[in-house]
Symmetry: C2
């Protein structure tokens, strides 16, 4: 799918605030309801627009600790990889997980109520899948957090 300048404007609006009315968005991008609606539908169908969600405040919900976990493994066979993948996907405290190029094999972002809860998570994870080396980086302050891509 080919997207143009208007699509990008719409995307910017929706990434900023998906709660606004079609009329508002149409006005903001300099168009009107129907064409905007059609474009949104096409962007949805193309999978460019994914889920629509609310962002909850971690601190106010008691998730006051955020760790970035750097993982090195010695086992690189596909069976191990699959088990690791399942383990990570199954744990709700893992907000994000990437397989990396180079020295470090995986990075996780983990949100938990406190350091103790992180340890519980950590013990549970390494008991389920063998990992060679783990480093946890503790976040002191979230300087910036956005879901909006710079389209």
């Amino acid at each position: 799918m080919q997207i143009d300048a208007t699509d990008r404007k719409i995307l910017r609006e929706l990434q900023q605030d998906a709660g606004r009315s079609l009329d508002d968005i149409a006005r903001a991008v300099g168009s009107s309801k129907t064409p905007v609606w059609t474009r949104i539908r096409k962007l949805r169908e193309a999978g460019i627009i994914g889920p629509q969600v609310v962002i909850a405040d971690p601190d106010k919900l008691g998730f006051e600790a955020c760790f970035f976990v750097l993982i090195r493994t010695s086992e690189h066979d596909s069976d191990w990889q699959q088990r690791f993948l399942n383990a990570v996907r199954a744990r709700p405290e893992v907000m994000e997980a990437h397989r990396l190029a180079g020295d470090i094999d995986y990075i996780l972002k983990v949100r938990v109520p406190n350091a103790r809860a992180y340890d519980v998570f950590y013990q549970s994870l390494i008991s389920e899948v063998k990992v060679h080396n783990v480093t946890a980086l503790l976040s002191m302050e979230e300087i910036k957090a956005t879901t909006a891509l710079p389209v």
Copy 2:
């Protein structure tokens, strides 16, 4: 603000899909429209529910490279810190930024079209603020990504 089991159910629904109708959500949490609506409003007012957004697909929009950037600095005075903060906040390719405890001072998550675009970003950043040491981890695969806290 004190939140109960029903609030948590509502939060789960909204974190999953904020596009559903009140009726649907009410049915899902075993209540009815008005009380659910009141609760959502209160959660909004309390700031527990933040912005409502759409999640766009990075790959389909040409953001095919994702880097985690580990930064060490030698300068820890508040002036430097403020300049770094501004620099990071101003750059839209920085999706996330945390100040860390320990050895490494900052971690950034950066989304760009390709490695070349990352280099442009990197050069531009270090020309604006002095940093002692930078390590970039390149993501090969996003194993998991969620905005939903396990409430």
